[in-house]
Symmetry: C2
Subunit: 377 residues, 2 copies
C-alpha cells in the first residue's frame, strides 16, 4: 500500500517552483457551462483537445471531468498519457481552482486556498462555487498528494507568478480587490503569501489587462520567461486605456529588483488588436441569473502573455492577428529552441474569459511523485 | 472501462428498499472530532472496529476515512472485505451524511439530499458542515454509482425508515422542525419525499426520543422489523417525559395502515434506564465554539431501536442495563434465527449523540453493482 495523502500543518521547507521547469503533469478540466462556453463547451472542446494532445507529447495530463459531461466526450481522452479523474467543479479554469503546488527535493505538496469565483459576493462571476472551492482537496486526495489548507485566504493561481527563486509578482488591482480578502491590508497579504508560499519578495504591479473579469490577474499582463527575465504585455495604441496600464507596470518593473537583488531584463510582448464578442458568439451561450452575462460587443481580455510553459514547450495563444507571428518570434528568439513554441488559436477560450494559461496547472516534478494512469473513477 | 458514474435527472422507477434485505455493502466513516468523540475518537474506534469486523463476516464494508486520521489507524482496516475510501467529512454519521440508496431490478442509485448538521443556523450541532454536505457526491463518484441531486431539500437518512413496499415512517418533530425545510409545509414535504423516494404513504409520528439532538430522528424511536411489523421504543417510567412520547407514537401506529392497507403488528422494545454523560467522559472532550457543548450530566438519547439490520444479521446496542438481554430476546424471538442478533456495547457512540444505526448506511444489493476492494485512495 502506497503512502497516503494527508493534511499537513506547514509548508515550511517547500519552494514554489518556476512554471518553466520540469513537470510531473499538467492538470486540465473540461468545460461544460452553457452560460459561459459556446454550445455548452463543445466549441472549446476542440481547442482543449488540441492543447491536451500537444502537452502529452511531453508530459502527462491529469484530466478532470465533471460527471455532467457525457461519456462520449470522456472516451475521446482514453490515452496512456492521460490520467482521468471524475470530480465536480463549477467551471474549468484549472489555473485558479486547483491546488498551487510546492516541492522540496523529493516531495510535492498542494496548497488549497479559498476560491470565490473571482470576487464572491462583491464581483464574482457566478454564484455557486462550492464545487470549485472543494476541488483542490478532492484532487489532492485522488492523486495522494499531501494538502496544506489555507481556506481562509482567497487566492487564484492566475493572480501570482513566481521565478522559483523567491520572487513573486502579482497585481494590486486583483490582490487588493474588495472581492478577495478585504479584511486584510497589503502588508498582511504579503505576510500570508510569504509564509505560505515561502517567497521572500513580492512585487505588486498596479494593473492587469483592462476590463479583465478576473480583477486583473497578473497572468494576463506579465510572467517570468526565466528567473531575472519578465515578459510584459504592451499596448501599441496610445488611445487605448490599456496603454497607460502597461506603461505603469513597465515602470514599476524597471525600478524593481528580484529576491536575489537582480534588476529585471524585460521582454515586451505586444498585445493583439482589441477583440470583441460577436452577436453570433454570444447567441451560442445560454445566459441565466447565476452567472454574469456575456453580451455581444463585450471587450475580451486577449493577451499573448497568457501562455503555458513547461521545461520543453510553450503553448502560445493565437488570435488571428498580425501580432501572432511577432509574439511567436519573440519567444523563439528568447529560447533558441530550448522550448518548442506551439501556437494554438484560442478564441473559444478567450470568449469564456481566459486563455491557455488559465485552463492549465502544472504539477512540478519530484523524485517521489507518481501519477499513474488510472481507470476512470 | 467500466460504466461511469453520472448525475441523473429522475429517480422514477427506483424503489427505496427495506434495510433488512440483501446489501451490497455497509458504509461507515471513522470518528475523529475531538469536540464530540472522547480522545478524538480513540475510545469509540474500538467500538467501530467491533462493528466493522462483525459486518464483514456477512458483507463488504466501505470504510470512509478522513485524511486527518493517521495512517496507524488506517492500516488497522486492511482487509479484503473492506473498501477504504479517503474522503473529507465533518463528522462520522454515515446514516445521515451519505447517500440514500434506491434500486431497480439491476441498478443502484444514490440520492444526495442537502445536509445541515441537524438544524443549520437554527439548531445545528456544528457550524461548518460543508465537507459533510459534499460527502455523498464524492462517495457516489468514487463508487461509480449514479447520483440524483436534491440539494435544496434537507434530509438525513436517520429521519426516515421504509418497509420497502411503499411506506415511509418519520417524525413531525424532526421533519417539520425549523432546522430543516421551514419554507415547506407538511404536504409539500410529503410530496417531495414521495416523488424523490417513490413511496406512496408517509406516516408522521409526533415524537422521537426525548432530548435527542437530532430533533427526534425516527431511527431512535421506531423501525420496521419487516413489512407490516414496526418496533417501537417504549418507556417503563411514567414520570419520564419519554413515557407520553412513546405512548402517543404507539397510538398513531395502532390506528394507521401501511401503503398496502395493512394494519401494523407492533413490537415494543423497552428503553434502558435514562443514561447521563459523566464528568470523566465529558473531560475527555475538547470543547470549542464550533460545536455544541457536551457537558457532564447531559441526558443521552439511549434506545435499542437504533440497531442496524441486514439480511442475515442485526447489530444491537447494549447499555449495561437490565433491558439489554430483554431486547435481544425480543429480536431473537421475532426472527427465530433468520438474522443473527449481535449485541455490542455502544456507549462510546451514544456519548457522541448517536448509536449503531447512526454510523451505518446500507447500499442495497443489485445484480449490476460492483464494489471492488480498492487500494486506499
Amino acid at each position: 500500500m502506497k503512502a497516503i495523502n494527508k493534511d499537513i500543518e506547514t509548508t515550511a521547507g517547500y519552494i514554489f517552483p518556476f512554471e518553466g521547469g520540469k513537470h510531473a503533469a499538467t492538470i486540465i478540466s473540461l468545460p461544460y457551462r452553457a452560460d459561459t462556453w459556446q454550445d455548452a463547451g463543445s466549441v472549446a472542446l476542440l481547442t482543449f483537445k488540441e492543447i491536451i494532445f500537444n502537452i502529452i507529447k511531453y508530459e502527462r495530463v491529469v484530466l478532470i471531468i465533471d460527471p455532467k459531461i457525457s461519456y462520449d466526450i470522456v472516451k475521446q481522452f482514453t490515452h496512456p498519457q492521460i490520467t482521468i479523474l471524475r470530480e465536480y467543479y463549477n467551471d474549468s479554469w484549472a489555473r485558479d481552482n486547483t491546488p498551487i503546488f510546492l516541492k522540496n527535493d523529493s516531495e510535492v505538496i498542494g496548497v488549497d486556498f479559498g476560491f470565490n469565483a473571482w470576487g464572491g459576493e462583491y464581483n464574482g462571476l457566478y454564484q455557486d462555487y462550492s464545487d470549485d472551492n472543494a476541488l483542490s482537496k478532492n484532487i489532492l486526495l485522488d492523486l495522494r498528494i499531501p494538502r496544506f489548507a489555507k481556506k481562509d485566504f482567497i487566492l487564484e493561481g492566475g493572480s501570482i507568478h513566481t521565478d522559483g527563486e523567491g520572487t513573486l509578482i502579482t497585481t494590486s488591482e486583483c490582490l487588493l480587490s474588495k472581492g478577495r480578502n478585504p479584511h486584510l491590508n497589503q502588508s498582511e497579504i504579503e505576510e500570508i503569501l510569504k509564509k505560505t508560499l515561502n517567497v521572500q519578495k513580492i512585487i505588486f504591479l498596479p494593473y492587469g489587462i483592462y476590463d479583465d473579469e478576473t480583477s486583473g490577474h497578473v497572468d494576463n499582463i506579465a510572467c517570468f520567461l526565466k528567473p531575472g527575465v519578465i515578459a510584459v504585455a504592451t499596448c501599441e495604441n496610445k488611445d487605448d486605456p490599456q496603454y497607460e496600464r502597461s506603461k505603469r507596470d513597465l515602470e514599476v518593473l524597471q525600478h524593481e529588483t528580484d529576491a536575489k537583488g537582480r534588476k529585471f531584463q524585460i521582454v515586451e510582448m505586444p498585445l493583439p488588436e482589441v477583440q470583441y464578442m460577436s452577436e453570433q458568439e454570444s447567441a451560442a451561450l445560454k445566459p441565466n441569473d447565476k452567472a454574469i452575462a456575456r453580451i455581444p460587443n463585450r471587450r475580451l481580455a486577449a493577451s499573448y502573455i497568457n501562455f503555458y510553459m513547461s521545461e520543453k514547450f510553450i503553448l502560445l495563444p493565437a488570435f488571428n492577428d498580425k501580432n501572432d507571428k511577432i509574439n511567436k518570434q519573440i519567444l523563439d528568439d528568447f529560447y533558441h529552441g530550448e522550448k518548442e513554441i506551439i501556437q494554438i488559436p484560442s478564441r473559444s477560450i478567450l470568449l469564456a474569459g481566459g486563455n491557455i494559461h488559465c485552463i492549465t496547472k502544472q504539477i512540478p516534478f519530484s523524485d517521489e511523485i507518481e501519477i499513474e494512469p488510472k481507470e476512470i473513477k
